[in-house]
């Protein structure tokens, strides 16, 4: 047996040597490979010993050892690559969703009036920064550090494996998952930023962002993606029509109600004074950035890329996501042409985004015609509900509520149409529970801020524009 073992050791050394010289990482290979080596040796020996103890012939033992080693070789490279692919998916998806922060910023600076553009830019830089900080400080563990079926996770900062530690037990690196999830919470806060634009006080908004990104979003997120009670119930929300978009929408709705409409927006007799945005090209750019980022948002929500099935599903998600957005845009365009005789481009922008939000709850199972249908209804929703909100004197500057809240509800409710494992009732329960929690909690936060530091700038500052009043820097200064 020793000779077999020696041969084995020699073989493993060969394998080891090959790996060292062939695996082109710079620093860590040695550690990886020495681990690999001893593992292979142990496995081979164990298998062979086990076979002998069971009365196998030496040949059978050799064969058992080799089988075990073959399988571990397969595992090592198959598994290594799968984990790299999974992590890479989070990294690529992560930078794409991070990029959506720029998309929201361009969309929103384009849709606010010239005098509030710098403020909108500042708010969105700040909220993205805060989202990262808060999601590290407590958010991630509130969301993912809980028990199955639970309501809330734990309160502690995130911890990433040391440099070079190279653990990826979950099938991907923890930090890549954190990064990807962090970009989602930032998107939620961006939604609120647009709705309450042009009159919210900077520091009040930022205080709200702290609570939203550290606590509110992670709590409802825990219910589903953190493995909490909703996920046990069978609720289904693939990439966050409800968990991200509606949550942002509910928080925005509470904000809009407590802050009130911009001065002059609503006159007597239901008269509405439109306040056209400062730059259509920037709003358009924002939409394209968001559209691009959504491939990360939905695609990487597959959460794995290490098998052909996974990557094929991601491809399917890309196609469906793109086509739902297209259907949303085209539907909105046709509807505004029919209703208003002119094609308000801001409605088309919102239509595309509503298509994207609608497909987000289930971008995988629908066949293309269903994806088109889901996106098209999303586009129709914005065309019909934007004026409706004005009737209710809910002054949502960029259309965040129709796009993210209403299309988000639609997208979540329609999941059972194409996904057999889900039920309309459960979807409704999830939407209601998350909606109720977020709306009530947000209202409380807005209320507290209102009675303490105040959430609205003075009438004079609002007339002057927030850029002059709170920033001191005009967005487009003149002579």
């Amino acid at each position: 047996m020793t000779s077999i073992k020696n041969k084995f050791t020699a073989g493993i050394f060969a394998l080891f040597a090959i790996l060292i010289f062939a695996t082109p990482s710079l620093a860590q290979s040695v550690d990886v490979n020495s681990a690999l080596n001893s593992t292979l040796e142990a496995i081979g020996a164990t298998a062979s010993d086990a076979a002998l103890e069971n009365g196998a012939t030496p040949e059978e033992a050799t064969s058992a050892a080799n089988d075990a080693i073959s399988s571990i070789v397969a595992e090592v490279f198959g598994d290594r690559d799968a984990k790299i692919f999974n992590t890479l998916l989070f990294l690529i998806g992560g930078f794409l969703v991070m990029w959506m922060a720029a998309g929201f910023t361009m969309l929103e600076t384009g849709l606010v009036r010239k005098k509030n553009v710098s403020m909108q830019a500042l708010k969105n830089i700040a909220l993205y920064s805060i989202a990262g900080l808060m999601f590290w400080l407590i958010g991630y563990n509130v969301m993912y550090g809980g028990e199955a079926g639970g309501f809330i996770g734990s309160f502690s900062p995130s911890n990433f494996p040391e440099a070079g530690a190279g653990t990826a037990e979950a099938g991907y690196s923890v930090a890549s998952d954190w990064f990807f999830q962090m970009a989602f919470v930032a998107a939620t806060a961006s939604i609120v930023s647009g709705a309450v634009a042009e009159r919210v006080r900077l520091w009040a908004f930022l205080a709200f962002t702290v609570v939203l990104t550290g606590l509110l979003y992670p709590i409802t997120g825990m219910w589903q993606w953190g493995g909490g009670w909703l996920s046990e119930l069978g609720f289904s929300d693939f990439a966050g029509s409800t968990l991200v978009h509606s949550v942002g929408g509910w928080a925005a709705l509470a904000g809009v109600i407590f802050i009130g409409a911009r001065n002059g927006k609503y006159g007597a007799n239901g008269m509405v004074t439109p306040m056209p945005g400062s730059s259509i090209p920037l709003a358009t750019l924002g939409m394209f950035i968001l559209w691009m980022g959504w491939f990360g948002f939905n695609g990487a929500s597959q959460l794995a890329m290490g098998t052909i099935a996974d990557v094929a599903d991601i491809s399917r998600i890309f196609a469906n996501t793109n086509l739902a957005a297209a259907a949303g845009a085209i539907t909105a365009m046709i509807l505004v042409q029919l209703i208003y005789k002119k094609v308000d481009v801001t409605m088309v922008i919102n239509g595309a985004l509503a298509g994207l939000v609608s497909i987000t709850a289930e971008p995988l199972t629908p066949s293309v015609p269903f994806a088109l249908f889901i996106g098209a209804i999303g586009g129709a929703i914005v065309v019909f509900t934007i004026p409706l909100l004005d009737k209710l004197k809910l002054d949502d500057v960029v259309g965040a509520i129709p796009v993210h809240l209403l299309a988000g509800i639609w997208g979540t409710m329609i999941v059972p149409l194409t996904n057999d494992g889900t039920s309309y009732v459960t979807q409704l329960i999830g939407i209601s529970a998350i909606g109720a929690f977020t709306f009530i909690a947000s209202s409380i936060v807005w209320l507290i801020l209102k009675v303490t530091i105040g959430i609205r700038v003075s009438e004079e500052d609002e007339a002057l524009g927030l850029d002059k009043a709170e920033i001191g820097v005009e967005a487009y200064p003149e002579f």
Partner: protein, 112 residues
Amino acid sequence: MKLVMAIIKPSRLENVREALSASDVHGMTVSEVKGYGRQKGHTEIYRGAEYAVNFIPKLKLEIAVKADQADNIVSIIRNSAESGKIGDGKIFVFDLEQVTRIRTGETGDTAL
């Protein structure tokens, strides 16, 4: 001296400028303005809400001329700015008491 101030359609500027340079006009100052008159604004839709666009973009020309040139200039502008459609604009003439050329300090007609 007189100051002729004309409100015209933006698209007629080139026409007017060429017509004037053929005459004895030495200078002109132009600014972007908005206005309404007989040509009322129209309603527009933004995100589903109707609103009145009350003001229409126009250009304002200011041309200082010798007193006796004023009528001629007015008619040149009138002819070159006319499109025959509503909103063509107006020409106003004011008395201009004094002119100084900053560069030289010349005043009066020679400063024009």
